[in-house]
């Protein structure tokens, strides 16, 4: 059973509908005991980093997530949920994150190295390039996924990057993982077939660990 963390800032509906399409049982909860009993956890999120961390702290779901991560069971952060897994973010000042993965979250620069302006948010379909082997990519070929974000995980965390996308010369970490911690910067639940396959690979990982 997969638990979706409800801390008030998630795209809960689209993530849960995607799990339904995959026939994967799930529940949505903000209760510590329930979430800790899940076999895998999904941390969704849209909105601002600071607000999200604020909510995770006041609801004490921060501790829940950290305890869950320590248990070794798979945890997946999606979009802002992935950014929260890192050490800190520079969105509206500096805010500490969950620090389950090394690296910081910065604003995507509005100019490339030659000084050409380009658009932020990074919104739309971009090519996912695989950087190293991971259970999340098993059996999959490179393809397009749907991104919507203005901040990204900055380098300094190369060893956790499983797949990335190129945006005007900036390498955007798109799939990250270390041990039982996984993250996707794009929206797998909105990324057509490839997105669904990536999500399915995460749910397989959860199942394998249970059996």
């Amino acid at each position: 059973m997969i638990g979706i963390v409800d801390y008030g800032m998630g795209n809960l509906f689209s993530v849960s509908k995607a799990l339904e399409r995959l026939n994967v049982p799930y529940f949505i909860s903000d209760i510590q005991e329930e979430l800790l009993s899940a076999d895998g956890l999904i941390l969704p999120g849209v909105g601002a980093f600071k607000d999200a961390m604020g909510l995770l702290e006041t609801t004490h779901l921060k501790e829940t997530i950290l305890t869950f991560a320590e248990s070794g069971k798979p945890l997946l952060g999606i979009c802002l949920g992935m950014q929260l897994l890192f050490e800190e973010s520079k969105e509206n000042g500096t805010t500490k994150g969950l620090a389950l993965l090394p690296g910081e979250v910065l604003r995507i620069p509005k100019e490339d190295r030659e000084g050409n302006a380009y658009k932020v948010p990074h919104m739309g379909w971009n090519l996912l390039r695989y950087q190293k082997n991971s259970t999340l990519l098993e059996g999959l070929t490179e393809g397009y996924v749907y991104f919507v974000h203005s901040y990204y995980v900055h380098e300094g965390s190369k060893d956790v990057i499983v797949a990335s996308a190129d945006y005007a010369g900036v390498e955007i970490p798109a799939v990250v993982s270390r041990d039982n911690i996984y993250g996707m910067q794009f929206h797998p639940e909105k990324s057509g077939e490839l997105g669904m396959q990536l999500l399915e690979n995460f749910t397989k990982r959860v199942k394998e660990r249970v059996s």
């Binding site: 795209n11 509906f13 689209s14 509908k17 995607a18 339904e20 399409r21 849209v46 909105g47 601002a48 509005k110 302006a117 380009y118 658009k119 932020v120 948010p121 990074h122 919104m123 739309g124 379909w125 971009n126 090519l127 397009y144 749907y146 991104f147 919507v148 974000h149 203005s150 190129d166 945006y167 005007a168 929206h187 639940e189 909105k190 990324s191 057509g192 077939e193 997105g195 669904m196």
Partner: protein, 252 residues
């Protein structure tokens, strides 16, 4: 590299897609979910549902439509039409839409854009601008109420203002080009796209695949929306994309 997006638009009245839709293979050509699936299969990058219901009942039905579409589709979609408050946005976004589009309501009360962006994040807030050429200023003026009312507001200035208010994207319709099928309004699209740093979806005037190429290259649009040429099967999303690929426009 980010791809250029092709966005079919569906008009929905009381939960049914209206305007003649000619997908003969469909069991029910008025069902938004079935039509959305067809466009998804053709490779549409995103969909826009425009709710043209005048009644309260029709609006409520739209929430159910959104739920069904979100349950069936794994591509993003935007809902516009009649969204006047944060409560309206909440109902549509909670039902599973990825973005809401504000038009007249944003002109009447620009703070609504900021309220929406603060609450849901900029990425959820699209501002739709209906613009028409104005000889006097040699620019484009904003129209509201479905293009019926002229507002003394320059379209390019308004685009900059909504960006500052927190809009995440602009859906720009040229009223001069709309329905003519002679191509998108390249000058207007370029002017707005260069004035803001958020993505611009061009709308109005699509007649063939070449028009899409033009609006992406000359018009600097990030996405292009069309309704009738897709509905009437004059071309398909697939056809447009294969042409764009040949012309080296980056598409999914």
């Amino acid at each position: 590299m980010l791809t250029k997006r092709i966005v079919p638009c569906l008009d929905v009245n009381d939960g049914r897609v209206v305007k003649g839709i000619q997908f003969v293979e469909l069991r029910d050509a008025g069902d938004p979910v079935e039509l959305a699936k067809v466009y998804d299969e053709q490779g549409a990058d995103e969909l826009v549902f425009l709710d043209i219901s005048a009644s309260h009942e029709g609006r409520k039905t739209m929430v159910e439509v959104v739920q069904h579409v979100a349950a069936e589709l794994a591509i993003p979609f935007t809902v516009g039409g009649g969204i006047n408050s944060v409560e309206d946005m909440k109902a549509i976004l909670r039902a599973g839409a990825d973005k809401v589009s504000l038009n007249t309501a944003a002109v009447l009360r620009p703070e609504l854009v900021r309220e929406g962006a603060d609450y849901f994040g900029s990425q959820c807030i699209v501002v739709a601008i209906d613009a028409k050429y104005d000889e006097e200023t040699n620019g484009w003026k904003v129209y509201t109420h479905g293009g019926r009312k002229l507002k003394d507001l320059d379209a390019v200035e308004w685009a900059k203002e909504v960006e500052a208010l927190g809009a995440g994207e602009i859906l720009l319709t040229s009223m001069d080009s709309d329905g003519e099928k002679k191509g998108f309004n390249l000058a207007l699209t370029k002017a707005v796209s260069e004035a803001v740093t958020i993505p611009v979806i061009a709308s109005g005037g699509a007649g063939n695949a070449v028009h899409f190429k033009d609006v992406f290259t000359e018009g600097k649009a990030d996405a292009a929306l069309a309704a009738s040429i897709f509905h009437y099967k004059e071309t398909s999303v697939e056809e447009v994309k294969s042409y764009l690929r040949k012309e080296e426009v980056h598409v999914r």
